[in-house]
Amino acid sequence: MAIVELRDVHKTFTIAVRKGRIRRERRLVHAVDGVSLTVEAGAMVGYIGPNGAGKSTTIKMLTGILVPSRGRVQVDGLDPNRERVAVARRIGVLFGQRTQLWWDLPLGDSFTLLRHIYRVPEDRFEQNLSTFRELLALDELLPIPVRQLSLGQRMRGELAAVLLHDPTVLFLDEPTIGLDPVSKEAVRSFLTELNRTRHTTVLLTTHDLVDVERLCERLVIIDHGRVIEDSTVASIKARYGRERTLVVDLETPGPALDIDGAEVVKVDGPRQWLRFRRDQLTATALLERVAARAAVRDLSVEEPAIDDIVRAIYRGENAPED
């Protein structure tokens, strides 16, 4: 069942551009330019793109903050603009760069306030709170005013805060931005757990592709307000990441090997990096060719990093032709 649906959605802004001292010119900016996207219930989808691609604008239309210029938006069967309050009860929204907690009050007070604002039944609230206290290690944070929390601590608090009312869909706009590796990991494993146990649908924007690799099966890439790629992470890797690298440690250091079907991209003492295309050669076949030329002590195969692939897609490089 589709729980999030965008059909040919556009968002156009008029901006005034200064031309000379006083004269201004109005210019149209197509922040989102015909996005269609469906997210099934229970899915975790990565929504990525370079800065200014239209990610946040899309999230803001889905959450009822912005009204689309054209097209249809539906969340859990409702229109987020016409039925904003009803949609607000069903969704959780986290903006990594902005707090939704009460800055001057203890973290625990924010939770109690949200319970009343969302009218969460008492027992359900207690149940959720105790789950999140454990999963996010919130116990000692509850009495501390939010402004005194570290970013990592606060983000754990924000996550609990947007989930207390059992939303069916969670929109996360850069949830790991600015976090240290340990805090990032805490956020990721929490989200995995949440999706596993509660089947919460998650739409996530991020610049950290490790988030996507760890959390999402599906990846939607947007640029200049249009979807330029929408498929599983595995298939994107398979299509774009045809080149793998075999790393071999030879018994004795030597010059770069000259092997048919592979290219040495780096030599460091006895270690050599051989790049090859997976559709032309298997790693085993290549290893046989290497072994025929030199004694191999150790080896490993490097898969293309998602970062490199996505960078290539942003740059507009097409998938290699079949």
Partner: protein, 270 residues
């Protein structure tokens, strides 16, 4: 409208949270409360200075003008406590933090006004309330049941009218970001205007405050009725009793303008 109770409950909680947060800065709270109370006396001081030179102002005695002042300033003070926070919309729009008010299952206006609630503003109503009571004991009124009811009804209507003016002028911030000055001239300027008998003004201004921005309904029209004075602009007597109706119409107008404005919200990048 079944959600009015929910909205009220959310409102109370949000106001409570805000007050607890403000309480962390106690000294600042006390200083503000005192300054607000003192500043609100300045308008009255101007009136008293005027009357030290003249006996009457367009046929109104000092006690009568003080009553006008009381009606306008008391109503204004109540609106200041509950609605004036809508002014903060422009600041939130600039910072992009207005998003938050649209994310929760509470009306954005209620949410904004509750979140920016400032108890210290109560200071503005204290002195006008006292002035209203004193003025009422000093003026000559041939009391009738209608006139008795007119006093609280006028003050409440006055609060609602000023509140609506606040909402409408603050809504402009959704279209163009620098609107504070225009908004202030209608709210604070309007309040000052309402403290004087309208007959002092040119006819176009009299018409403006009766028919366009109906500030005359906050003070001078009901006060004219109360004091058996001729109704400004030669209007029939019953029109002076229309303040609640005018307030109700303005609520509908303000609601529509606000809704339209929020649909115009553009947020900020990222």
């Amino acid at each position: 409208m079944a959600d009015v109770a929910t909205e009220m409950a959310a409102y109370r909680r949000l106001v409570g949270a805000r007050m607890r947060a403000d309480f962390q800065y106690r000294t600042s709270f006390v200083l503000f409360l005192v300054s607000q109370t003192l500043v609100s006396g300045l308008d009255l001081a101007v009136i008293l200075v005027l009357f030290s030179r003249v006996q009457h102002l367009a046929g109104w005695s000092v006690a009568e003008v003080a009553l006008l002042y009381g009606f306008a300033a008391f109503g204004f003070g109540i609106a200041d406590v509950f609605v004036s926070q809508v002014e903060m919309a422009s600041r939130h729009i600039k910072a992009g933090t207005f998003d938050l008010f649209l994310l929760r299952p509470v009306g954005a206006l209620v949410h904004l006004c509750a979140s920016e609630f400032a108890l210290r503003r109560v200071g503005r109503s204290v002195q006008p309330a006292i002035v209203t009571v004193i003025a009422l004991t000093q003026v000559h009124v041939a009391w009738t049941p209608v006139k008795v009811a007119l006093v609280p009804v006028t003050i409440l209507s006055s609060a609602v009218i000023f509140g609506c003016v606040w909402v409408v002028t603050s809504s402009l911030a959704f279209w163009t970001v620098e609107t504070q000055e225009i908004a202030n001239s209608f709210t604070y300027g309007g309040m000052t205007l309402s403290q004087y008998p309208v007959d002092l003004f040119a006819t176009w201004l009299r018409r403006l405050v009766v028919f366009v921005v109906p500030l005359a309904f906050t003070s001078v029209l009901p006060a004219s009725y109360l004091l058996d004075k001729p109704i400004p602009l030669g209007l029939p007597r019953w029109t002076a009793l229309l303040s609640p109706a005018v307030a109700a119409v303005l609520v509908v107008v303000a609601r529509s303008v606000w809704t339209l404005a929020v649909r115009h919200y553009r947020s900020t990048g990222s």
